[in-house]
Amino acid sequence: MEPLALLLARIQFGFTISFHIIFPALTIGLASYLAVLEGLWLRTGRKVYLDLYQFWIKVFAVAFGMGVVSGLVMAYQFGTNWSNFSRFAGGVTGPLLAYEVLTAFFLEAGFLGVMLFGRERVGPALHFVSTIAVAVGTLISATWILASNSWMQTPQGHEIIDGRVVPVDWFRVIFNPSFPYRLAHTVTAAYLATALMVGGAAAWHLLRGRDNTRVRTMLSMALWMLLAAAPLQAVIGDQHGLNTLEHQPAKLAAIEGHWERTPEGEGVPLKLFGWPDMQAEVTRYAVEIPRAGSLLLAHSWDGQIPALKDFAPEDRPNSTVVFWTFRTMVGLGVLMIALAFWGLWLRRGQRLYARKNFLRFAVALSPAGLVAILAGWYTTEIGRQPWIVYGLMRTADAVSPQHSTAQVGFTLALFVVVYLVVFGAGTAYGLRLIAKGPAGDEAERPAWGGPGETRTPMRPLSAAPEDDQAETDIRADAAKEGDRDGH
């Protein structure tokens, strides 16, 4: 294998999986959201939940379709481009992937049809069961694929016999050290990404003056989810970091751009910003907080973390990249927490639905969950290099040896063109659906005022109640908004 072909194969994998990972993240979150909506509808009988269901299921279907076809590519790419890896580790990754297909893909696919097209044919209870089956399927799928990925990061429970991995203890293979953290982190990220998208869509409609119960319910539910998941994610991420410190120290050193061990008792500073230079073995332009690194990473005043120079140069992951992908993820996470608590604060007196800066912030953060997922995924995958199976097999040895640069280059170019066309169009359709907003019976739109009710910007301002300061705020905002939008 020529070095360029290896590079192209890695770019191809990174490219195809970057597209792929977006869609399962959205379908995991949306499927659970849809199950909650349908459950609430069956319980309360409030039509708003059904309207939202009918709205988001269309976005879900688009995302699901794209997830299926891009996932199909992934299932075959392990063999086409990474045949040495498949032969070496297939004994572990194969059965895990097979279980994913058997327990998750079929479940999702089998009940998706009923979920999308079967409401008139099966009745509400069975339809609800189908929605739940799809939602559970997405979670089962995440469990298996993360078991497989985590095993590649922190392998255990196997022996190497005749140059290939032989599983000896499946329990240890699946419940490998990083699996619980990775699973919790990824599923929470999927919920966060979906909440941000749903909330951002609602905020966008509110900013355009389309205020009704459906849009409000969307925003409110999304913000509750965000409030629960965003701080939780910070805790899970912290625990995941401790796990990485223990099992993949080189990755952690690269994330921190930490080159030299600090003397005993001094504590490790936290580099907020900087530019890790792999050649010169220093982090340039570093902005540091003394001892904060020890506190954050080792949870002690003078805890040590491993340094990049502890590892041979050929065993170091690229610090320049993971330093920044990690900070992108954490930075966005901080913004998500800020949005969640700002939203909580604004709930007093219904200001949530009218404070424009808040709504603009929510719109701006709507893709943040997906960006953070990609950044986090780059951090963990590039941070694992140069290993494909940590400590067992190098990425350079995993690639299919027989493909020429021309062959891999051709298929890479093909995927780039096809993906940009297909998923570009899909994103456009998804955004167009979201821009249309949830349809409903406009007659149900109640008059202005009262908790949980809609306000109608078109109504004369004199009709607004005068007794509530918060309502007056809304009225002022609504007046401005109304002027701009010509209501």
């Binding site: 379709g65 086409t80 498949s86 004994g91 194969g94 999308l116 032989v166 000896v168 093909l414």
Partner: protein
């Protein structure tokens, strides 16, 4: 314990691939037949006959890949490397037709034609390259030191190109007879009239492959034409003749579901024939399922799941088909 794990896994994978060919076959066939059905409303009906189930159909292909990786990692590595280009072209085809299901209903009128073309092109491409891969697989591939040792274009041969076209024809026939079952009136008549020449074509293709394969491969010829075998296998061609004859009669008559069932039978017979020709090799011409098998710990672990779960999958898949039974009319669907 004398459980032959590789053997059981070979049966499971063969079953999975057969399920794929049978099920995705007819929905790929719909894409292949699209050019013959120009009206938008008719095309919507065609799509809606499979929209609720196509995704499950395609999952059998993923099971084939995952099962191969789990049970025969060597075969997975060699076969996917050997057929790198046709498989990736097949995947690209499946990408286009897969998203077309959602996109064409959400596209504006002007763009919809574009997704119609993507659906047609994707279906034909996927079917053709599946057939090419099948033909090239029959031809066998060189292996050295556990790696594919041939060139990037070894899969191109007159035989493999022929099997590519043959599979397009087979899927078209499956699609046409499926639509005879799922549609009514003028559209159904159109499908009946399309299915008849396709059935003849299918018969011709089966005969051609049956002659071509033993001529090209001495081992396959020996298997079929040595004496006890010949008697065992004689029912295959006999049944092919019978089923085709019956299919042509049903297409001329009133049968709604029977042409589809008979076509499935025909496909199953062809598939059996291929299985007989290749057995027990997972990498033709000479690496057997036992030589390519993964560690028994892997096969055993995955087998538990497969044996417990596949029956459940078949049950809810059947249920889902049952939910969407009956004819599809203009205006059906959720869009």
């Amino acid at each position: 314990m004398g459980i032959d794990l590789p053997l059981i896994w070979a049966v499971i994978i063969l079953f999975g691939i057969m399920m794929y060919v049978v099920m995705d076959g007819f929905d790929l066939g719909i894409g292949i037949l699209f050019p013959f059905v120009p009206a938008k409303e008719d095309r919507d009906v065609l799509m809606n006959t499979v929209a609720p189930v196509w995704d499950g159909n395609e999952t059998w292909l993923v099971l084939g890949g995952a099962g191969l990786l789990a049970a025969f990692p060597l075969a997975y590595a060699v076969i996917l490397s050997a057929f790198y280009l046709p498989l990736i072209l097949m995947l690209v085809g499946l990408v286009f037709r897969g998203v077309a299901f959602e996109f064409r209903f959400k596209a504006r009128a002007g763009k919809r034609r574009w997704w119609d073309h993507a659906f047609i092109g994707g279906s034909v491409t996927a079917a053709f390259f599946q057939g090419v891969t099948l033909g090239a697989f029959l031809n066998g591939m060189p292996v050295e030191g556990g790696n594919y040792a041939g060139g990037a274009f070894d899969w191109v041969s007159p035989f493999s190109l022929f099997t590519g076209v043959a599979l397009v024809a087979a899927y078209a026939l499956l699609g046409a007879t499926w639509l005879v079952m799922k549609t009514e009136g003028r559209l159904q008549m159109r499908m009946r009239s399309l299915a008849r020449p396709l059935a003849w074509l299918m018969l011709a293709v089966i005969i051609a492959i049956s002659i071509w394969t033993p001529l090209a491969h001495e081992a396959i010829a020996r298997r079929w034409f040595s004496l006890p075998n010949l008697l065992w296998f004689a029912p295959v061609p006999t049944l092919v003749a019978l089923v085709t004859w019956r299919l042509l009669r049903e297409l001329g008559g009133e049968g709604h579901a029977s042409p589809f069932v008979l076509t499935l039978g025909l496909l199953f017979l062809g598939y059996t024939g291929l299985g007989i020709s290749l057995w027990p090799n997972v990498i033709p011409p000479d690496i057997s399922i036992w030589q390519a098998a993964g560690p028994p710990q892997s096969l055993g672990f995955a087998l538990v799941g497969a044996l417990l779960i596949i029956p459940v999958i078949l049950m809810y898949t059947a249920w889902s088909y049952w939910v969407f039974r009956g004819k599809v009319r203009h205006g059906d669907g959720y869009h």
